[in-house]
Homo-oligomer: 137 residues x 2
Amino acid sequence: MSLRVSMSYVDDQKFKITNQTENQLLVDMYSKEKKEHLSPMELLLSALTTCAAVEIVSMIKKRKRNFINIKAETTGLRVENPPKFFKSINVKYLIYSSDLTEKEAERYISLSLEKYCSVGSTINQKTAINHSFEIVR
Amino acid sequence: MSLRVSMSYVDDQKFKITNQTENQLLVDMYSKEKKEHLSPMELLLSALTTCAAVEIVSMIKKRKRNFINIKAETTGLRVENPPKFFKSINVKYLIYSSDLTEKEAERYISLSLEKYCSVGSTINQKTAINHSFEIVR
């Protein structure tokens, strides 16, 4: 089961990615003032957060709980020295629901991040994946 | 040293990411026919490929070698069963240069993927990262 992307060069710090269905993505490593797109390490945080979010929403709906909205804030903590990998990532989900219980939210989030999400499962040997959440009524 | 992104909900299989410099990214998990953006696992391949590409270009230029272009094809092989993490990723770089030697290319690519790139260093405990290359004159 394989997945493929192609990369082309835009400039020394900007690249274009195309996937197998011809969808595109620009990535840059510009400094703050000049930045236009996400950087590689931001893509990694994005991949983890969205990968688990899909599973969380699916579980809430399967259990017939009310679902209004979901948001997240994800923070990655890097080691000080190069290659500065993520030693930990904390994902905080805000779930808007009238009847989801704390216990259910905890269970769905931890199952998604730790068990079902392919991205989490790829990085979890090197990176501690932590989570927290808030249910908004 | 921390990095942060925020996620908001578009629909059950589509999310928007915003980084700290307000750059945005859409991610979807739609099936082929409907797909508009990259999926989380494609983001991971993109992150690895571009992260190392920046380093490779920088090394070629520092050593005053001719540099015309760089492209890449990246294939991730997933395990069969959920959570289907990447057991290996192969990145093939095409480097367009009139004077870069095979030995230099091999060295710059392996150093980038295995030593300098933060993404590679985050995933390399679970995922074997392989590479190949071609120099185009």
